[in-house]
Symmetry: C2
Subunit: 345 residues, 2 copies
């Protein structure tokens, strides 16, 4: 069993507990912090979108289709389906001469409630562009279109089925993941992600290593090192694209810029890179709760950056309110996490 | 640490884990099953609404205001805010000569998504009647109105502030909880619930005892025993009221009638009574996840009722689908839970 990382208080009593594990390592793989079982494979889900976007830049597709910072940031995003996100994804596809029918991520309504309600009130319906992964998928289609152009075949036909593990695009994505993590993902436990692409279960230690590498370029081939840097810079310049209004990743990267790249994944995963410190972070809440993953990531960021910051404290000590707006409880880092982060590096 | 009760699979690999504890006892307090720490206090939240509704019947208020089965079932409900729920709560208040302004539960939009979208499309806004607790609160107001009538004072003025622990209505509710659980709740850790009334942290063992008593009448004062029976019968006759479309409690009680009374609470709590078996059940998922609470309750119900039933299996082995509708994983009872439930009573 992993230790409790985050406690949920109601009044003065602990109501719920979130166990999990945290790995913080440098680009050589040296462990800065390891709390819980950091060798057990976990599905990183959307937390590795930056790594999955490496081929978009490294292949030359981003240059070939003149992708902007906003478009590159959206390729690393789990966005809230706000109008800017939808328009940006549509813009990428338009550059390819394609439209939303090229996306194989499935339809998802915007996670941002006021946006969803506005659509409903106007009688609009959601499509694949509203899916939180539409930017990542638009990036995959870019890679497919460049491959098709190089092969002299029809781009739309070549792109079809790009979500399958054996498609040339997904092979590139898997290769980038293997190179960054140092784990042959073809041998890892495999599942299907929410957006229909494969997801591979990898140790937190290896995921943290990948983000230490992505933050520093150390241990990556030159093309991937340059790609990681360009993607991090793009997200730092267009942080709204990586999440959206009131989202953790957007708010934190608006506050900290290139000091901290962080990305949430489904089922309680978080990955982060702290380039100036040379560190990568990967954590998983055992039960999959996003509230605890955000609180733990905020606690880690505060400890590593040695800052007290309202945005981070607002997540690490999230105040819980009831239907009348009364504060009835709060999250807080549990003793095991607080101690591990307080220990000298 | 409590044992893992429910595992979440993605492909063939365990992606997430939900730990927790389960107490199953009879009305004498004899333990049928105890898995995990059943003596640690947990906030039962809405799982004890049947107990909180005992004064509504025992005081004579239900008779005085001629409450129907549907209205009594709604008093035990965490409903989805569907039109029938809203109309039924409004009907109770109308019998008192009052309206939604008497409710102190706060505003909540319907949890049932199509209902919410229909309201948004029609330009409607939510109010306290849509709050999942509006039936319980309407019941509290009934008790207040009977008290006011008996005291010869203005009902609306008397009812005001009924959510406070020291209000005469809430004192009755706390007394009913103490009597049923055998724990003096005034000495228990206290928090404020989502609907603004007090919630008291009590051991699962005591909560299970209360439901064994509520299912059998054994160990309760006559008035409370009769009240519990009437409430259980009302819910069995009007199970839609206790939850709503596609809700666990509604579907299970539609299928099993008076064989099984069950009620979910926030933060991963479930309580149940199996009158014919003389057993009460209380469980808590440590991390607060509803999906795991439902899966665990379904596994418990299958084991105790010795049935295989599609509705229960659909929760204990819930299939997880992605945005394209592809089955990507499933829940399942973990070994510790399966073993505890397989052991002879």
């Amino acid at each position: 069993m992993n230790p409790v990382l985050i406690e949920v208080l109601r009044g003065d009593a602990v109501e719920s507990r979130h166990a999990g594990a945290v790995a913080i390592v440098d680009a050589s793989g040296a462990v800065h912090t390891a709390l819980g079982d950091v060798d057990r494979p976990v599905f990183p889900r959307s937390a590795v979108k930056l790594l999955q976007a490496l081929p978009l830049v490294a292949s030359g597709a981003a240059d070939a289709f003149e992708l902007t910072d906003a478009e590159l940031a959206l390729a690393c995003a789990s966005h809230s389906g706000e109008p800017e996100h939808v328009a940006t994804a549509a813009g990428v596809l338009a550059k390819l001469g394609l439209d939303a029918t090229a996306l194989e991520c499935g339809t998802q309504w915007p996670s941002r409630e006021p946006v969803l309600r506005g659509m409903v009130a106007r009688g609009e319906v959601a499509g694949p562009l509203h899916n939180n992964c539409s930017g990542k998928h638009s990036g995959f289609v870019c890679v497919a279109c460049l491959m098709a152009r190089n092969a002299g075949t029809d781009p739309a036909a070549f792109a079809r089925g790009y979500v399958a593990a054996e498609h040339p695009v997904m092979r590139e994505v898997s290769a980038a993941l293997s190179a960054a993590t140092g784990v042959d993902v073809e041998r890892a436990p495999r599942g299907t992600d929410g957006c229909s692409i494969p997801t591979f279960a990898l140790p937190l230690r290896s995921l943290a290593l990948a983000f230490a590498r992505a933050g520093t370029g150390l241990g990556l081939a030159d093309a991937n090192a340059r790609a990681a840097r360009r993607l991090r810079e793009a997200v730092a310049r267009a942080p709204f694209m990586v999440g959206g209004t009131d989202r953790f990743d957007t708010r934190v990267m608006q506050a900290f810029g290139e000091q901290l790249f962080c990305k949430i994944g489904a089922e309680g995963v978080y990955c982060a890179a702290l380039p100036a410190l040379g560190l990568g972070v990967a954590l998983k809440i055992d039960d999959g709760a996003a509230r605890a993953a955000e609180a733990a990531m905020a606690a880690v960021a505060q400890a590593l950056l040695r800052v007290e910051h309202d945005v981070l404290a607002g997540y690490s000590h999230l105040v819980l309110r009831n239907w009348r707006g009364t504060a009835v409880g709060a999250l807080r880092p549990a003793q095991a996490l607080a101690r591990a982060l307080a220990a000298p590096a």
